[in-house]
Symmetry: C2
Subunit: 349 residues, 2 copies
DNA sequence: TTGTATGCGTTATCAT
DNA sequence: ATGATAACGCATACAA
């Protein structure tokens, strides 16, 4: 019953930590009193409290959170599911989540899915198993619908950044104003005199990408837009623009709007490889304002997404309910975006 | 005793999930049997097992991990402490940790400290409270010594990336070969004909920074090195180089070695602002190979740190012992680095 | 002001 | 092949 009774069998096993009973015995009080000395949940005589605290210090007693969690029915931890933590956007978002959680005494368990559905499923099991009290879900890819549907009414979840089609009315949703961002770029290019643009879209099933393009069309003028669709990576942007240039006929655009910065960088590379100058011959704009955007040559005109705020808001909204043991009602939070006009766009000559 | 008996008081509280007892009752077996059906830890009659599984599915039963954790004395979660998850290096490291953990069925709780000692302390309490089975500690700053000392013999900890002075012999330590990296740069610049260099060091108490500079001195030749010390940020690099240029007398160096890439970028900016061309007039090299390094102009010569591998190795080493409930013995793992020679360094003219 | 008894939900031990 | 019971470590309702 005393700690540290393990016979050392050659390997240093973690020795049994002091329990509340050990403390109680050593302080000649009941475990209840120890508990209350530490929690302050009921008055304890000064003298008794001192004695208990001395023993606590001497034994290095720290309450086992596993036991607390079982008793309390909650863990004070939420999950953050992202596809790729090395992506700057999700890293910023993660910081926002972590900050909001930390403020309320919650921890954050990182669920990095690498876009792997199996991995995503495994992490969602943390919710079912109630290892986490809630989840900020920033999947980045859409096939998650079925996966999420069974959880939504029963567990606290906040969707960050990406709309999951069909589930809009059932959860907290925090996202940037993608459509307004697209409009900002459309207006910007139009003011520069451009009338024909190539719109480089991301995956067709991503609502965020579609919204960006839709906003762009609204402001730029639908009729001047040629649209191509690819993946949210540099290579894809390169290939799509290279293909568009390769058509044989005269170039049908004076500007390129890519639905994210990586594709925009690919677009710039493709244009330059084709002997065209950015922005002299063709203007290029992106979306996201990743760290690279401001540092490449030419600096990339893009739309800044408030990644940190998205994360922070999502977590704050979620915790507001989790904290009270409630399933959050549906709510939507559309965060404003800003145009960052840089040197990759210029007036049509 | 049956689930879902809560009177709806206006707010949707999380309804009580089915417990193993609920399943047992509905399947007319004992909780023990339910447990064994799910764990496979002992044979169960086919017919019984089917019946149990049907009930499990119907009630949507998932074992409460809080109860499991208490019973098992472990949570299958480790912590990852980093100063700033939006720093690319730590994001890569985090991915490595997460991957290694995931492979062994462990989760990772993200402890983002923002270099805040209080926050760091709070996260270390997760260890004392045994909410996590171990910790990968990548603090990035050194004052952690006292904070860590009391934990080291008693809890499984792996130090990643940064040596914590005085604790070398007590834990797992995984780090890049900073000294070899410094040597690579020194040799590289020397081969290019440089004989006088400005070494821009990071915080003096960071062993990694000191090692980089020391390696550089070894290979470049101690006598040709002028050293200045600052912080690991761009601004600091700028200021130090600007100050060195401002001396009045003739320039005392033809090359700059900065102990990290951010400072190197600052150095480039300072040189260019002073009317000097990189690499034409002065060569500049950094350390880390952050994503920006390859994309700035001129592309930065630097030393690639295997951030992912550092994280992965640290977690794998840690879990090897954690998994068996043992405190890991001390071990050191020095991972190789690679020189990335780019356009910011050139032959002395 | 303090203590006793009980329960949180699961798994391990020891029966049968 | 299955079940009863104890135990994990704590917090709390109830007693005194």
């Amino acid at each position: 019953m005393t700690p540290d009774t393990d016979a050392d069998e050659g390997r240093r096993r973690v020795r049994r930590p002091a329990s509340i009973k050990d403390v109680a015995a050593a302080a000649r009080v009941s475990p209840t009193t120890v508990s209350h000395v530490l929690s302050g949940n009921r008055p304890v005589a000064q003298e008794t409290a001192d004695r208990v605290r001395a023993v606590v210090a001497r034994l290095g007693f720290v309450p086992a959170s596993t036991a607390r969690n079982l008793q309390a029915g909650s863990t004070n931890v939420i999950g953050l599911l992202v596809p790729d933590i090395t992506n700057q956007f999700f890293a910023e978002l993660a910081k926002g989540v972590e900050d909001a959680a930390h403020d309320l005494g919650y921890g954050v368990i990182l669920c990095n899915t690498e876009f792997d559905p199996e991995r995503e499923d495994r992490y969602l099991e943390l919710l079912r198993g109630r290892f986490i009290d809630g989840m900020v879900y920033a999947s980045g890819s859409p096939p998650s619908r079925d996966r999420l549907a069974s959880l939504l009414g029963r567990f606290p979840i906040a969707l960050a950044d990406e709309v999951v089609p069909g589930l809009l009315e059932q959860t907290i949703l925090v996202t940037a104003d993608h459509r307004a961002g697209g409009r900002l770029v459309g207006q910007h290019l139009r003011e520069l005199g451009h009338r024909r643009a190539l719109a480089v879209s991301g995956p067709g099933d991503l609502v965020s990408s579609a919204e960006r393009i839709a906003g762009f069309r609204e402001a730029f003028g639908d009729e001047g837009v040629t649209e191509v669709e690819g993946a949210f990576v540099e290579r894809s942007g390169y290939d799509m623009v290279a293909a568009a240039l390769d058509g044989g006929g005269p170039r049908r655009f004076t500007a390129v709007f890519a639905a994210n910065d990586l594709m925009a960088l690919g677009a710039v590379a493709a244009l330059e490889d084709a002997g065209l100058s950015v922005p002299h011959d063709v203007s290029v704009a992106g979306f996201d304002d990743i760290m690279l955007a401001a540092r490449v040559h030419p600096p990339l005109t893009t739309v800044h997404q408030p990644a940190y705020d998205i994360g922070r808001t999502a977590a704050a909204q979620l915790l507001q309910y989790v904290h009270r043991g409630e399933v959050p009602p549906a709510s939507r939070h559309i965060l404003p975006v800003r145009l960052k006009a840089r040197a990759s766009t210029a007036a049509l000559r």
